[in-house]
């Protein structure tokens, strides 16, 4: 099919499907009359009689307008109040979006609602994993002790999200070291532990990562991740080249059948030549 014609037809379909709010959102941001448009969007967002799709579209349009910075500034206080208003609203998708936008701004009300949900899961406004993720936007919050507790009981995605939050907590260094070394752990958990430990204590990460790189019995993707992180850390911290590590990486690169390890080894060795 002709690409130009396909595009034309696709754009026509898009235009036809757009609701009034969606049309507003699709218009070039710089050309919009915000004085008229924003109050309408806020009214739609807060009107419980409107279909959820229209309210969601209004919310998305407002979130996009927020990127206009100074032009949106006159409406920002009302916008945030509207978000707080719908943060406990019935439609789950709508309140989840509102909570996310507030949490990005480290809004205390949103944080309180999210913490309440973790403490009393039956009253939670969003799933546990999402609550942890949203609270993680604020590394100055007092949520870390609660997240440590949640980590102990959580499984699946919630456990991974908890680890992401704990990556700002120096007291979790030992936890990350243990998880990174533990071959029985899920690979995603070990990869998260690698980035958490590298952020909290690069020297401790280097020590553990060297052992993993040299361990032929460990998983190839974990070894490749460790090697890539060693190269990145060496570049970032401008640490001197360690001949023993270079020798180990050369051997690993020559003997492995894994393409990812060979590639990571090549990158590491290149970083030592610069």
């Amino acid at each position: 099919m002709d690409v130009a014609k396909y595009r034309e037809r696709y754009e026509a379909q898009l235009a036809k499907a757009a609701t009034s709010a969606e049309e507003s959102a699709a218009a070039p941001l710089g050309e919009q009359n915000l004085e008229e448009q924003v109050p309408d969007l806020l009214a739609t967002l807060q009107n419980r009689e409107e279909p959820v799709a229209s309210r969601t579209a209004a919310l998305e349009a407002l979130a996009a307008l927020d990127f206009l910075g100074p032009r949106f500034a006159p409406f920002r206080a009302r916008y945030k109040e509207a978000l707080r208003d719908v943060a406990t609203d019935q439609p789950q998708e709508l309140r989840a979006q509102a909570l996310e936008l507030l949490a990005i701004d480290k809004d205390p009300y949103a944080q309180e609602l999210l913490v309440q949900g973790l403490q009393e899961p039956t009253d939670a406004l969003v799933p546990e994993a999402q609550a942890i993720q949203l609270l993680g936007y604020d590394d100055h919050a007092e949520v870390v002790p609660l997240v440590r507790e949640v980590y102990e009981r959580a499984t699946g995605v919630a456990r991974e999200e908890a680890l992401r939050v704990l990556a700002t907590d120096p007291e979790s260094e030992q936890l990350f070291t243990r998880l990174l070394k533990d071959k029985s752990e899920k690979r995603s958990i070990r990869q998260l532990s690698a980035s958490g430990l590298q952020s909290l204590n690069p020297e401790a990460f280097d020590e553990t990562a060297r052992k993993i790189v040299a361990d032929d019995d460990d998983y190839n993707d974990i070894r490749a991740t460790a090697l890539a992180a060693l190269a990145h850390g060496r570049e970032a911290r401008e640490t001197p080249v360690d001949p023993k590590l270079v020798e180990t990486v050369q051997k690993v690169g020559e003997s492995t059948r894994s393409r990812s390890i060979r590639s990571a080894a090549r990158r590491f060795l290149q970083s030592t030549e610069q």
């Binding site: 500034a73 480290k106 100055h140 007092e142 120096p170």
Partner: protein, 371 residues
């Protein structure tokens, strides 16, 4: 938490409670221990707003001016504006700082309420932080006249960033100031009528922590004595994950400039910063943070962390800092000047320090050695 809020509510109703409220503003007060930054700000804002009715005593004024000068949380800054309404005498810096706060928060206005402690959607007639600031300016009337020109300039250049309600409040404020009788400009010798921090502390000895172990941005380990003895020192405090760009980021940027000024003047002095957050601010992080702010590292210009607890430093210099479960929840600005024998000869706290004042203090500390 709610016990603390109830206590503030109780104090609001009692006469002569202002001094107890001031006690709740010190960063190291138990009111903040173990709280996150948001909660610490909430407590602070709730206490500050209480001075509107309880009256703002002179010892509460520095906390109010600090917030207007450096605060970036609309709730707390608005609370400081409310506190000013309880002042018997308007501090000379206050009108200009109110205008600066309006300028700083103009892209981040938010609804604020001080009627109840818990955050939540506003009840009736929501009021925003900028409205609170404008209303305080209007209420100051004649006393705020020195800030009129700056307010006019702000409204002319940035008027499009204010909501219609705030624009109307600012117009009311300008009318109140214009209608007022002329008064002498505040702060005869300071930049834009705003004075910097002035040295406040009595001399004390830092020699008690001479053996304290430190590590610098390159991973070199040395004692406090090795780092600072033998030359005058300007020592400040910061942490890399500070969320307020007017505080730590600016402090380290100005520290770098101070180091260059010392060098340009041939003043052989140490210029250094010690992090509050030693577990997180490891050498690589310190190096990157300083380099991004133009610090020219040398054996006289360093960023450091303690290798043990931070408490001895906090106790020795009486630093205004509180800690949450993971990191700092609130801190004031602190800069100390030490003489070559590690005696504190000057301390600048809470307000922005001026480079010239610190240079003078360093020169005076160097003279101690010469004598």
């Amino acid at each position: 938490m709610h016990d603390l809020a109830a206590r503030v509510d109780e104090l609001r109703r009692q006469p002569d409670s202002a001094r107890e409220l001031v006690g709740m503003l010190f960063e190291q007060s138990p009111s903040y221990a173990g709280r996150g930054t948001n909660e610490a700000e909430r407590v602070r804002g709730y206490v500050l707003a209480s001075f509107e009715t309880a009256g703002l005593p002179p010892e509460g004024v520095p906390f109010v001016l600090e917030e207007l000068e450096l605060g970036n949380n609309p709730y707390t800054v608005a609370a400081a504006a409310r506190a000013l309404r309880g002042a018997r005498e308007v501090p000379a810096d206050a009108p200009a700082l109110l205008v600066r706060a309006i300028e700083r928060l103009r892209g981040a206005d938010d609804v604020v309420s001080f009627d109840r402690f818990t955050p939540g959607p506003a009840r009736a007639d929501p009021v925003t932080a900028l409205t609170e600031l404008a209303r305080t300016l209007a209420g100051l009337g004649p006393d705020a006249r020195p800030a009129l020109d700056e307010l006019r300039r702000l409204v002319e250049s940035e008027g499009g960033t204010f909501s219609p309600v705030v624009t109307a409040e600012l117009a009311t404020a300008m009318n109140a100031l214009e209608g007022a009788r002329a008064t002498p400009a505040a702060g005869c010798c300071s930049e834009h009528g705003i004075g910097g921090a002035t040295p406040v502390s009595l001399p004390g000895a830092a020699s008690e922590i001479a053996a304290l172990a430190l590590e610098d941005q390159d991973g070199s380990r040395l004692s406090f004595f090795e780092a600072f003895a033998g030359r005058p020192t300007a020592l400040t405090f910061f942490y890399t994950r500070c969320q307020n760009p007017e505080k730590c980021s600016l402090t380290v940027t100005r520290l770098a400039r101070l180091a260059r000024s010392c060098e340009a003047q041939g003043l052989d002095a140490n210029v250094a910063g010690i992090t509050y957050d030693a577990a997180f601010d490891r050498p690589a992080r310190l190096r990157g943070y300083g380099a991004d702010r133009a610090m020219a590292f040398s054996d006289r210009c360093r960023l450091l962390r303690t290798l043990g607890p931070f408490d001895p430093i906090q106790a020795t210099f009486d630093l205004g800092v509180g800690f949450g479960p993971v990191t700092v929840n609130r801190h004031r600005l602190d800069l100390v000047v030490l003489d070559p024998a590690l005696t504190v000869t000057a301390q600048f706290e809470r307000r922005l320090w001026r480079e010239t004042a610190v240079l003078d203090a360093l020169l005076a500390a160097a003279d101690v050695q010469a004598r």
